[in-house]
Amino acid sequence: MKNKWILLVEDNADDEELSRRALKKNKILNEVIVARDGAEALDYLLGVGNHAGHNIDNLPAVVLLDLKLPKIDGLEVLRRLRENEKTAHVPVVILTSSREEQDIANAYMNGCNSYIRKPVDFTQFNEAIQTLGLYWLLLNEPPVE
């Protein structure tokens, strides 16, 4: 359990706080690392740029990825993760406001594992985070490294 951490790629501080709160409320106490934009997320996961030298052997149990991000958008982050041998199989869940068909199609085409639309109703948002946390942190068997 100790090694299972979550990478939350989210530029909105409110959304970050609400996500953390929802996880906490649902007793999901795993470590949450936050990347504020697409570039930082890639640097962190691939151990390059600002995070050069960072140990990348311990991949997150799940990456919660917003689509609309500063610098490098979510789809591009996903594409580059899938291109890299190291991160090709890391579970990525798109967590976004958009329900545009094109976004959903593109996300799956680029190899996301799941697509969740953030509901405005926080009760529903809570439920979504709970289900998501339980599924990816407890039920799901991550790829063998």
Binding site: N12, D14, D15, K68, S98, V120, D121, F122
Partner: protein, 428 residues
């Protein structure tokens, strides 16, 4: 006239000379009876000659007349005529043709046909048609530019027909006006196409802008709402004990308003998506769709006593996904606005209105005041309060958009507490 007199005198002299040279008809031995006989014969001859003369004169007049006619018909014909020899020399030209080429007729006669052809390429084309005409003995027609004496060119329609003695007859029509008109039409056509291309490009840009706007709406407007709702809930949960009932009620209202706004955003997106999407036309079974919707409505509130009367076999040509949205909204409205009545009846049928096939959905519910009928279809316009009947006011606006995209019209009839009838046509 003097010419004629001289001519007649000349004839007279020659005749007398001939007479003198001839054998004398009357001798001393000629009897008076014979003389009388001869005289008679001479008289008859004279009359005969006079008659012949008369006939000649008439024939000459006829000839004059037909020459004049020939002149009129040939020279003043509205088309140019030319006779070409087998050596491709111009043998005869009418006045019209000479005028066309801006040259006196005599200057064209005995000239080669190349005189009226702008260049070698035109000569090749001309000779090709001439050859075909001779070989097939059939009239050839084509259009080409011809050369005037002043070096200008003009468009002509040419016809060449086989004539006598290996000659060819050429008919020339000046079609400059027609060609100019055609050119103008082509020009207009090109301009039109250009304009269409420009408009299409502008539309495309507008579309892209709208799409990015819709995307931004769906993404960016939602995020603050989530914060408002999320932190309101956090306040209620974490600091609920510090708030009295009034404070909690306010927070609940904040949350309700956020939900409502989220719903409005979703509706706007739905509307913009419908305006953007392509129509896929097929035969749509409206009856079947309506029956499924009716079943769904019944299952949402099974306790309600609503009778659906749906006409069988209603089929139209349209986009099934969009027409389902139409029926969803119209039947859903009928269901909603009959909810204040203990028993109700909702009918879906077809009728002729002004000779056109129209479909209707009629209910016996709350109805509406016809005074406000025009507001029914406006986006986010409502005739009832949220407390009376919930809704955002998007439904009929969506319906109208979809029906218009199908080339149809939609209208409503009703009266307060006497139900409403929503009519629509599909296509034409």
């Amino acid at each position: 006239m003097t010419m004629t007199t001289a001519h007649t005198q000349d004839l007279r002299l020659r005749a007398e000379a001939l007479f003198t040279a001839s054998e004398n008809l009357i001798t001393e031995s000629t009897s008076p009876e014979e003389i009388t006989q001869l005289f008679h014969e001479l008289k008859v001859h004279q009359i005969e000659l006079q008659m012949q003369n008369e006939e000649l004169r008439r024939a000459q007049a006829d000839l004059h007349y037909s020459q004049a006619r020939y002149f009129d018909l040939y020279d003043l014909a509205p088309v140019g005529y030319m006779t070409l020899s087998d050596k491709k020399l111009i043998q005869e030209v009418n006045l019209t043709a000479a005028t066309m080429f801006g040259i006196v007729r005599s200057a064209l006669v005995k000239e080669g046909i190349s005189r009226i052809l702008p260049n070698d390429n035109h000569q090749l084309i001309f000779y090709k048609h001439l050859k075909q005409c001779v070989e097939s003995s059939a009239v050839q027609e084509w259009e080409m530019r011809l050369l005037r004496a002043d070096g200008e060119q003009f468009w002509a329609h040419l016809q060449v027909a086989p004539g006598q003695n290996e000659e060819c007859w050429l008919v020339i029509n000046d079609i400059t006006d027609r060609k100019n008109a055609e050119e103008k039409i082509n020009q207009l056509h090109l301009e039109m196409e250009q304009r269409v291309t420009e408009r299409t490009a502008q539309l495309k840009v507008a579309y892209q802008e709208m799409e990015s706007f819709a995307y931004s709406v769906s993404h960016d407007l939602r995020a603050p709402l989530r914060s408002i709702d999320g932190f309101s809930l956090a306040l209620l949960e974490d600091y609920g004990d510090k708030l009295d009932d009034g404070g909690k009620d306010y927070l609940r209202r904040v949350r309700c308003a956020t939900q409502k706004m989220a719903q409005l955003i979703d509706d706007i997106l739905k509307l913009s998506r419908i305006t953007r999407c392509e129509l896929t036309l097929e035969t749509v079974n409206l009856t079947k769709i309506a029956e499924i919707i009716a079943d769904e409505l019944h299952s949402t509130e099974p306790e309600r006593k609503v009778e659906f009367v749906i006409k069988k076999g209603l089929k139209v040509n349209g986009d099934s996904r969009l027409l389902k949205v139409v029926l969803d909204n119209l039947l859903g409205n009928a269901w909603k606005y009959t909810s204040s009545h203990a028993k109700s009846r909702i009918e879906f049928g077809r009728s002729k209105v002004d000779g056109k096939t129209a479909y209707f959905i009629r209910d016996d519910g709350a109805g509406f005041d016809t005074k406000y009928a025009d507001k029914l279809f406006a986006t986010f316009q409502r005739l009832h309060t949220e407390q009376e009947f919930p809704g955002t006011g998007i439904g009929l606006s969506l319906v109208q958009h979809i029906i218009h995209r199908h080339g149809g019209t939609v209208w409503a009839e009703g009266a307060v507490e006497q139900g409403a009838t929503l009519w629509f046509t599909v296509g034409g």
